[in-house]
Amino acid sequence: MRRLPTGLLFAMPALVVMTMLIAYPVVYTGILSVTDADGAFTGAENFRDVLAARVTPKAFQNTLWWVGGSIVFQIILGTATAILLNQKFPGRGIVRSIAVIPWVVPGIVAATTWAWMFHTEFGIINYMMTSSGVADAPIGWLTNRHTVMPAMIAINIWKLFPFVAIMVLAGLQSIPNDLYEAARVDGASFWDETWHVTLPQVRPVLIAVTLLLVIWALNHITTIYAITKGGPANLTLITPIQIFKLGFEQFQFNQAAALSVIFFTVAMVIVALYIRFLAQGGEIAK
């Protein structure tokens, strides 16, 4: 009898743990998605039911807004902050520490705090706006259909742009000074330097960070669930929250599993496309 290769033997314990932690839940979700509550096989029925519900396309649409809106501003604001923090100025250390606070605050704490700040009746934002005369009457930030999703996105941006800033800052500090010196010899301005030296150099970092942000935004639940639970009238219902509500509030575990499978597939396609087309040459993302 041939012995198992030593390498495989060493990897065995880790493989077993991986199987239990990753493969089992994935397979189980797959099984749940094609069976009913009693475990009988139902084929595509759960998929049909969940796709037929009006909230499903709406949640998808909301998810796109949520992910797109969050990422664009997180990247722009984060990169700008990184460039700023990379300059030499007095008190830089303190500013750098303060800048990471939003990222360090636990998600549920941040969400609750923002919910109170946005509150129509007791919120500090409305208080400041009405007392300074900017607004005549309190604004229902979390209940007006034009402001509630932007408010959620704003919280998400606030929460995660420091992460982008730290990553980009690390990337900036690894750029050799010679490049800037060479550019300055050629008469480059600050904007030329930023555009032609800095950004190309941190491109791999930005690509990796964007990918992370996309995945996080797609999986996000805390902020929105803690503040609006997806309401009012499903205006902030994103797909992960729909899955959560289907499963744990409405006990439709099989439909929730079906939606998870669909969502997983879509997310995988997005990530694959992203890596295929945008991340060419971005070594980190591969």
């Binding site: 037929a52 129509t120 009746e121 259909r145 009012p232 009238a233």
Partner: protein, 405 residues
């Protein structure tokens, strides 16, 4: 170890083991929610005195996540012998053979609140013994009524009077009548569905085959209720964020003059703002019709695979005696004769007692949670101004119909 000590230990151990054995034979495990704990302990002590052959093991539960916990234990095959559950859950257990019929225990159904019996009846059998019932009414601030020139002793009775009073009470940062538009779905169900009922409508037809929430009567009621915020502006700006607790807080903070709630709010209002002269009125009804309210409350069930169902039945029979039930309930007893107890003779509770005969059970349907969510989404669409009542309820009816088919 000395000889004496060893003997003492041995005797102790054997006494314990004998006790354990006899306890196992006639031992009832009873799950009760924490708000009942103190009274349950007292009743258990009394019961054990009268029935020395039965030992009762109390296990205290918390309402948060309780439905899931009970469902798990009922499905697991190792359930306790007696569980306190909310009325609306009973039917689902009965349909899935998770609990025992209790017709041999509850033999005097005519002494019980009718709606409570309806809740626990399925397939012509009784599946639980209801012990606690409650219905919402409208709590109001008598001082505000006087300040607005209204008579606090003659609060609004009809919808027209309610709207008029609410408008008179609104102004100077005060709101006349607070409705709920946020929080858990149940908050809005409990407050708005009675209005639909009063007007002759419902969410689904009685046989559970048709969504009828877009019928003219239902839409008119939904419009009346949501107009408190949308059209009349007598409900706070934060309505879409508010649940029942938020409304109570606004009432305590003197921002709201009237809001719908149960008798469980009275104590905390009196404690947190003793200056408010609290009044309670029946739910106002459409001209010439009756008030309505959703009947809430709790029942006892015996799981289908309980180990000692016979002893559990003895315990339920004892607990269901009028004076024991009247002592045990947090609000009102399900038994009509127990209402005579002095405990319920509080003028503040009078209106709540008057509301009880108008209490109705929620519709029973396996997809009820999703149905109520679809209705709640419809209410929110109206409140945020996305649609009018008819359009929104048409959509809700479409969603609900899909859940019924």
């Amino acid at each position: 170890m000395s000889q004496a000590k060893r003997i003492a230990l041995l005797t102790g151990a054997s006494v314990l083991s004998v006790a354990a054995m006899s306890a196992q034979a006639d031992e009832v495990t009873w799950w009760t929610p924490n708000f009942n704990e103190e009274r349950a302990r007292e009743l258990v002590a009394q019961f054990e005195e009268e029935h020395p052959e039965i030992t009762v093991n109390l296990e205290i539960t918390v309402t948060n996540g309780l439905p899931e916990r009970i469902l798990t234990t009922l499905r697991s095959g190792s359930a306790p012998d007696l569980i306190d559950v909310q009325h609306p859950w009973v039917n689902g257990y009965a349909q899935n053979d998770l609990v025992m019929p209790l017709d041999d225990v509850l033999t005097d159904a005519e002494d019980y609140n009718e709606a409570a019996i309806d809740y626990v009846t399925w397939n012509d059998q009784l599946w639980a013994v209801p012990y606690r019932i409650e219905a919402m009414a409208v709590i109001f601030n008598k001082g505000d009524f006087e300040a607005a020139g209204l008579d606090p002793e003659a609060p609004p009775e009809t919808w027209a009077e309610l709207a008029e009073a609410a408008q008179a009470l609104t102004g100077d940062g005060k709101f006349g009548f607070a409705i709920t538009g946020g929080g858990e779905v149940g908050n809005t169900i409990f407050r708005s569905v009675p209005f639909v009922w009063m007007n002759g409508g419902d969410l689904i037809s009685e046989d559970g085959t048709e969504a009828i929430i877009n019928s003219p009567e239902a839409v008119e009621a939904v419009k009346y209720w949501t107009d408190m915020y949308v059209d009349l502006g007598v409900s706070p700006t934060s309505t879409l964020e508010n649940d029942g607790t938020a409304n109570r807080r606004l009432f305590i903070a003197d921002t709201v003059s009237m809001y719908q709630s149960g008798q469980f709010d009275l104590a905390s209002i009196a404690q947190e703002n003793p200056d408010i002269d609290i009044g309670v009125m029946m739910q106002p009804h459409p001209e010439g019709k009756d008030p309505a309210s959703i009947l809430g409350g709790w029942s006892w069930v015996i799981p289908a695979d309980a180990e000692n169902p016979d002893e559990a039945k003895v315990l339920i029979e004892w607990l269901a005696q009028a004076e024991n039930m009247g002592f045990y309930t947090d609000t009102f007893p399900a038994r009509v004769s127990a209402m005579d107890m002095p405990r319920f003779d509080d003028p503040m509770l009078e209106v709540y007692g008057d509301m009880l005969p108008y209490g109705r059970p929620l519709p029973n349907h396996p997809n009820w949670v999703q149905i109520s969510q679809a209705y709640f989404d419809g209410i929110q669409r109206i409140l945020i101004g996305e649609m009018d009542a008819q359009e929104s309820m048409d959509l809700a009816a479409e969603d609900i119909q899909a859940l019924l088919d």
